[in-house]
Amino acid sequence: MTDKALTLKRKFAETRFKIYGLASLFLAMVMLVVIISSMTYRSIPAFTNYGINLEIKLANEFIDKDDLDYRGIIRETIFSLDSECDDRKCRRSFSKLFSSGAAYDLRDALEEDESLYEKNFNFYILFSDDADLFYKFGIDKNLPENERRLNDQEILWLEGFQEKGLVEKKFSSNLFTNGDSREPEIAGVLGAVIGSMYTILITLIISFPIGVLAAIYLESFASKNRITDFIEVNINNLAAVPSIVFGLLGLALFINFFGMPRSAPLVGGCVLSLMTLPVIIIATRASLQSVPPSIREAALAMGASEMQVVFQHILPAALPGILTGTIIGLARAFGESAPLLLIGMVAFVVDIPQSVMDPATALPVQVYIWADSPERAFVAKTSAATLVLIFLLIIINLAAVILRKKYELKW
C-alpha cells in the first residue's frame, strides 16, 4: 500500500470513529426526546373532557337537603333527553353514556352554592370515558357491533347530542384534584401524589440522620480496620442491590415478622430508606472528604475536640454537598415502584390518605396500575401521570442543582 493511500485510509477511519461517537450520543438524545414527546402527545386527551349542559330542575320540588338522591336527579335530567327510552335495557344503555361522577359533581356544586336548592339551573354533566373517546377519536363503525365499546343505538344518541349542539368540551382538572377511580374520566393522581409525599417524608426522616451520622463516623472517627472495611463494602454493594430485593426484605421483615400494616406509606418509607441510605452515606462521605484537611487541623490546634471540629467546622462546610446528595437519593426513591409493589402499595385506593398509616399508593405505582387497566381512556391518563411524575422529579432535581450552584464553596 502506498503512503498516500494509507494516510487516506487512516483519515477515513478517524472520521468514521468520530461519527460513531457522535451518532451514539445523538441516538441516546433522540430516544430521550422520543420518550418524553410520545408521553406528552398521548397525554393531551387526558386534560379535556366532553360533557353536556342540561337544566336541572329543583325549583318546584320539595328537597330534604340531608338526604338528597343526587344520582336520581342526574338520571331524571338525562332521561329528559330521550323520553322514548323507558324500558330497563334502554335506560341502562343510555345512562352508560354519562359519567357516574356527575352525581358527586352535583353534590359539590350544591354544597358550594346553597341557593341552587330552590332553582332551575344549567349543569355540566360529564360523559363517560366511552362517550368521551367517541367525541375525541370517533369510532370504527365497520366493526361488528359486539366488538365495539358502543352499539349502534348509543352512537345514534351521541350523534344526536352533537347535532343539537349540546356537547361541550372543557378543560378537566380531575387529574390533579381527585384520587383514583375505576372511571377513567374522574380518576386523578392526587391520592398517589400525597401517598408518595408521605412515603418520601418517612424515607427522609429515617435515612437522613442515620446516613449522615454513619458517614461522619466512617469518615472522621472510625479507625481503618476490618470492621470498617466490611461496613464500607456493604454500603457500596447495597447501593447496587436490585430494588426489588429491598421489597422482599420489607415483605418478610416489616410485614410478616413485625406485623406492620400492608399498603401503608410507613412501611414503604422504611423500605425506601434502606435503599436511600447508601446513596446518602456515599454522598456525605464525598462531601466531607472535599473539605480541606487544613480546616480540621486548624481547629484541632485551637484545642477543639474531634467531635467539635466535625460538628462546628467540617459539617457546615460539607452541608450543601450532603443535601444535594440527599435530594438526589430521595428523587430516586420517589421514582421507585418495584419494592412498593411487594409491600402492597399497589392497592386500589380511592380515598386520599390522611396519615402514614392509611392505605396508600405512590405516584409511580399509580402509573403501573393505570397502565394495567383495560379501559382505553386510561392510556391518556397514564401518560399524563408519567408527565406529572417526570415534572415533579425535574423540580426535585432542579432544587439539588440550585442548591449546589448557590452554596458551592471553592477551596
Binding site: 461517537g21 441516546a28 436490585p242 475536640s305 411487594l342 422529579l393
Partner: protein, 422 residues
C-alpha cells in the same frame, strides 16, 4: 461546660427508654395479635385460616374502642372486655416502666455530675457509640436481606426439590384451587426464567454497550468542554427517568411497533416480545455504561495520550490502541455493573415482558424474568406458606447472589484500576 452536663443527663435519661419505646412500637402489633388469638372463639378457628386472619385484623384495628369491640359479632362481651383490659394493662405497664427508667437514669446521671466531672468526653463517647451503631445499619440491612431470603428459601426447599428448582425446565407455579386437580402442586423448574432473564439482559447490553461506550468516548475524548457540560447531564437524565415510565413506553409504543413491523416482514412477533423489553432496558442503562466509562477513560493519564499522539497516531488510533486498552479493566467494571442493573431491573419487564415461561432464545417471542416472577407471585392476596409465594423468595435469593457477585467483581476491578493510575 454546662452544655455538656445537660447533654450528658439527656443522653443518659433518654437513650435507653427511646430504644425501649421503639421496641414497643415494633412489637405492639404482634402482641396485639397474641392477645387476640387467645380469645378467638373456637367457631372461627374451625372455619379456616382466612377467616381467622380477617377477624384478627378487624379486632386489631378496633382494639382501642371497647364499644366497637363489643358490637363486633366475633368476640363475646366478656372476651372483648378482657382483651381491652389486658391490652391496656400491658400498654400502661410498659410505658410506665419506660418513664420510670428514664427518670431513674436521669437522676443517676445528674448525681454523677460535679465541677470536675469531664462531661464532654463522656458525651462524646456515647455519641461516638451511637454513630457506630448507625453505620452498622447497612450491614444489618444486608444481614436482614440474606437471612430473610434464606429463611423463606429453606421453607421453599422443604416443599420443592432443589434440583427441580435449579435445573427443571418447566415453570408453572399456579397451584390448582382444588386438591384433587392435576398438577395441584405446581411445577417449579426455574431454567426458563433464568434463560429469559439472560436473553433480555443480553439484548439490553447489545444496545447499551456500544451506544454507552461510544457516547463516553465522544464525550471524554472529542467533545469540547462546553458540549460536554451540556450533554453529560442530558445523558444522565436517561438514568433519572423512573423505570415505570420506560415500562409504560415499552408496553405502549415499542412492543406494538416491533410487532407491526415484524408482521410486515412476515414474522410472528409477540406483543410482549423479549426484544421490546430488552431494547428499552438498553436505552435505560446507556448512562450507567457511559458515565463510569467516561470516568475511567478520563482517568487514563494525559501522558499516555500525548505519547501516542507524538508518535503520529491519529486521535482514534490513540483511543483504540492506547486509551481503551489502558482503561479496559474499568470499562469491564462498568459493563458488569450495567449487567447487574439489567438483571435486577423490574418495572420494564413487568410491564413489557410476558408471564409465560418459554424456554427459547428467540428475541421475538415472549419470555419471563426472575423479577417479573417475583412480582407476579407476590402481588395480590396470598397465603404465606404455599410454595408459590415461597418460590418468589428463592428467586430473590438467586437474584441477590448473582448481582452481589457481579457488583463485588466490578467494584474490585474498578478499585484496582483506580489505584493503578492514582
Amino acid at each position: 461546660m454546662p452544655n455538656y452536663h445537660g447533654l450528658y443527663s439527656l443522653l443518659w435519661s433518654q437513650l435507653v427508654p427511646l430504644l425501649l419505646l421503639l421496641i414497643f412500637i415494633v412489637i405492639d402489633a404482634s402482641v396485639k395479635e397474641l392477645f387476640i388469638f387467645e380469645r378467638l372463639p373456637e367457631s372461627i378457628i374451625l372455619i379456616g385460616q382466612d377467616e381467622v386472619n380477617y377477624s384478627v385484623n378487624v379486632i386489631k384495628d378496633n382494639i382501642r374502642n371497647l364499644d366497637v369491640l363489643i358490637s363486633l359479632d366475633i368476640l363475646s362481651i366478656e372476651s372483648a372486655n378482657g382483651l381491652y383490659n389486658q391490652y391496656f394493662l400491658y400498654r400502661t405497664l410498659f410505658l410506665s416502666i419506660i418513664s420510670l427508667l428514664s427518670g431513674a437514669l436521669g437522676f443517676f446521671a445528674i448525681s454523677r455530675l460535679n465541677m470536675r466531672f469531664d462531661a464532654r468526653r463522656n458525651v462524646e463517647k456515647i455519641l461516638r457509640f451511637i454513630f457506630f451503631i448507625f453505620s452498622t445499619v447497612a450491614v444489618l440491612t444486608t444481614f436482614g436481606i440474606v437471612l430473610s431470603l434464606i429463611f423463606e428459601t429453606l421453607r421453599f426447599f422443604s416443599q420443592v426439590g432443589f434440583t427441580e428448582f435449579m435445573f427443571g425446565t418447566h415453570w408453572s407455579p399456579q397451584t390448582a384451587i382444588r386438591e384433587d386437580q392435576v398438577g395441584s402442586s405446581g411445577s417449579f423448574g426455574a431454567i426458563p426464567i433464568f434463560t429469559g432473564t439472560l436473553l433480555i439482559t443480553f439484548i439490553a447490553m447489545i444496545v447499551a454497550a456500544p451506544l454507552g461506550l461510544y457516547s463516553a468516548i465522544y464525550l471524554s475524548q472529542y467533545a469540547k468542554p462546553s458540549v460536554r457540560n451540556y450533554f453529560k447531564p442530558m445523558l444522565e437524565i436517561l438514568a433519572g427517568i423512573p423505570t415505570v415510565v420506560y415500562g409504560f413506553f415499552a408496553a405502549l409504543s415499542v412492543g406494538p411497533f416491533i410487532r407491526s413491523s415484524g408482521e410486515t416482514l412476515g414474522l410472528t412477533v409477540s406483543t410482549e416480545s423479549a426484544l421490546a423489553a430488552g431494547l428499552v432496558m438498553g436505552i435505560m442503562i446507556i448512562p450507567y455504561v457511559s458515565s463510569l466509562s467516561d470516568d475511567v477513560m478520563s482517568a487514563v493519564p494525559e501522558s499516555l495520550r500525548d505519547g501516542s499522539l507524538a508518535l503520529g497516531a491519529t486521535k482514534s488510533e490513540t483511543i483504540k490502541k492506547v486509551i481503551f486498552p489502558a482503561a479496559l479493566p474499568g470499562i469491564v467494571g462498568a459493563m458488569l455493573l450495567a449487567i447487574s442493573r439489567a438483571i435486577g431491573e423490574t418495572m420494564i419487564v413487568v410491564m413489557a415482558a410476558g408471564l409465560a415461561a418459554n424456554l427459547t432464545a428467540n428475541p421475538l417471542s415472549a419470555v419471563t424474568t426472575v423479577t417479573v416472577q417475583i412480582v407476579t407471585l407476590l402481588v395480590g392476596d396470598q397465603e404465606f406458606d404455599s410454595p408459590k409465594t415461597l418460590a418468589a423468595f428463592a428467586l430473590g435469593l438467586v437474584l441477590f447472589f448473582i448481582t452481589l457477585i457481579l457488583n463485588v467483581i466490578a467494584m474490585i476491578t474498578v478499585r484496582r484500576y483506580r489505584e493503578r493510575y492514582d
